[in-house]
Amino acid sequence: MNNLPEDCIAMILSLTTPLDVCRSSAVSRIFRSAADSDDVWNHFLPADFPAGFAAPAGLPTRKQLFFSLVDNPLLLNDTHLSFSLERKSGNKCYMMAARALSIVWGHDPRYWHWISLPNTRFGEVAELIMVWWLEITGKINITLLSDDTLYAAHLVFKWNHSPYGFRQPVEASLVFLADTESTDDVQPSMISLTQDPGCDEAQSPVLRRDGWYEVELGHFFKRRGDMGEIEMSLKETKRPFEKKGLILYGIEIRPMP
């Protein structure tokens, strides 16, 4: 290995994972130099960035860009979408803001109102005052995502001081609307937004590090060349009582571990 030129080492490192490359910078001087080189990190950065992506200023090396995108999701211009990378693989992750979703009755201030909360990456989140017809849908173009990766969509939310009406599971569905095929009727799955052990099969929410909850709406595998949209939705329109108190941050789409 002592005879290998640095660019050979860089080539070898680019065939490993970001984690291995970071570890390699602690091996020896030449490894460190290879591990920090732009060639290696270019390999982990996506080949194509989404529209509206503007690389943050002040990051001269590709490695810095990589970690900046991992740790600090970037708001894409003119969309209510944030973009980041998954640490282990460099796969693309997105979060759709509540404003990017279509929320039935969301425009009506009697039912939903839009507030700004600190420590959130979007300008607004949606707070549910009261509604009978709860239907939230989000659509994302599948070409935005990384190839050959299994993704999951999570609803990110929390509760205000007085939630009501969410003890029972609600319907969630995730459908791939391919350009070429027509979609059959998809059976929604039941998920629970509260942690009550009411329904054992239902997916239940998990507390994230940032203090919000998330629950999986569904998952899908993106193959190279897939075209079309992924439609994710949450619905509770069957039960004749009101729902209150949900604060909706958005829907996060990221690779499954």
Binding site: M1, L4, T16, C22, R23, A26, S28, F67, N119
Partner: protein, 352 residues
């Protein structure tokens, strides 16, 4: 094909050969189609017209030693035949690549200098698989690499490797501590101004022993500060020390209690490389207050367990920290604290 066969076949098939000279000076002839599989040789033949006779043998790059060259020739001989199926090639490659790491490295180097990309890809991939998942020490051992980085340089990548909240908290605390130490140093420098130039070695020695009346005030102050620091490390009253505690505790117990550590929050906007100054103030603000309470509770739980463990392991480290005879007491203490942190990081690094 054996030498004998070659000798018999030559006149009938009228094969052309290329003459090549390896780094050790020995010259051999290789079938043209095999040798031309290497772009570098191809280039030499076409551009410079060499290789057609013994006197005009192509000099191979120094990185190509005879043993590697014969391996490369085997590879070329197999792959240059167009009739082989992909499956055959793949099987051959998998068997070909089975050799010890040292030879793999030499082979990569040789193939690279001959610009034989498919072989470089093959060997690089094999080496990448070897490197994956290994710790830096293991990598150094496998490849016999020199250990030529400083402690701090070795620990720097840690910040980026794990998404672990403990690391982030450690980083924050580290940054905080550094800032505090700088503050203290600044304050101390203000105090020290009156004394610094007048102190002789004797003065310093007695300062250390806390007996000199001239520096009693300062030594007391220093002692107090030292004590405070000790308390910070050992006691569990201070909130910060608790935090400090728990994080160190987390480090100590990574092996067993990885699952026990709570889902500690990390701020949305936390940048893993702590910058000096302003960022530090924002550190704790970014934790959701509810999560902070959770954190504090968990910290209290761990606080008791930490004490003996921490003090014991720290015992050796602390003794050289606080006393120095070079008159630069403050700096030494500073770097002493830093070295404690580095030690912690190192433990963590070993676990990677």
């Amino acid at each position: 094909m054996s030498e004998g066969d070659l000798a018999v076949m030559k006149p009938e098939t009228m094969k052309s050969y290329i003459w090549l000279q390896t780094a050790d000076g020995s010259i051999q002839q290789v079938e043209q189609e095999v040798a031309m599989f290497c772009p570098m040789i191809c280039q030499e033949v076409i551009q410079k017209g060499v290789g057609s006779s013994k006197n005009h043998a192509i000099s191979l790059p120094q990185r190509v030693n005879p043993a590697m060259f014969s391996l490369i020739l085997d590879y070329c001989r197999f792959h240059q035949l167009p009739g082989r199926s992909n499956k055959e090639r793949k099987t051959y490659d998998e068997r070909f690549i089975r050799m010890d790491t040292k030879r793999l490295c030499e082979l990569t180097s040789a193939a690279d200098s001959l610009q034989l990309k498919p072989l470089v890809d093959l060997t690089s991939c094999a080496l990448a698989r070897i490197i994956e998942g290994k710790t830096p020490e293991e990598i150094r051992e496998i490849f016999h690499l020199p250990d030529d980085l400083t402690e701090e340089e070795k620990l720097e990548p840690l910040k980026n490797t794990m998404d672990d909240p403990r690391i982030r908290l450690l980083n924050r605390l580290y940054a905080k501590k550094r800032k505090e130490l700088k503050e203290r140093e600044r304050l101390k420098n203000v105090e020290v101004e009156e004394h610094v130039d007048e102190r002789s070695v004797d003065d310093l020695l007695s300062f250390i022993n806390g007996r000199d009346p001239k520096v009693v005030k300062m030594s007391k102050g220093k002692k107090k500060k030292k004590k405070k620091k000790d308390q910070k490390i050992v006691s569990s009253n201070d909130k910060e020390s608790r935090d400090l505690h728990s994080k160190q505790q987390c480090v100590e117990e990574t092996g067993s209690s990885m699952r026990e550590v709570p889902n500690l929050p990390s701020a949305e906007d936390d940048i893993s490389t702590p910058k000096a100054g302003s960022e530090d103030e924002d550190i704790d603000d970014e934790i959701d207050p509810a999560m902070r309470e959770l954190l504090d509770r968990e910290v209290e739980d761990f606080a008791q367990r930490l004490n003996s463990n921490w003090v014991r392991s720290l015992g050796q480290e602390r003794r050289p920290v606080h006393f120095s005879i070079n008159g630069n007491g403050t700096t030494r203490r500073h770097t002493g604290m830093v070295s404690i942190w580095l030690h912690l990081y190192k433990r963590f690094l070993d676990i990677l």
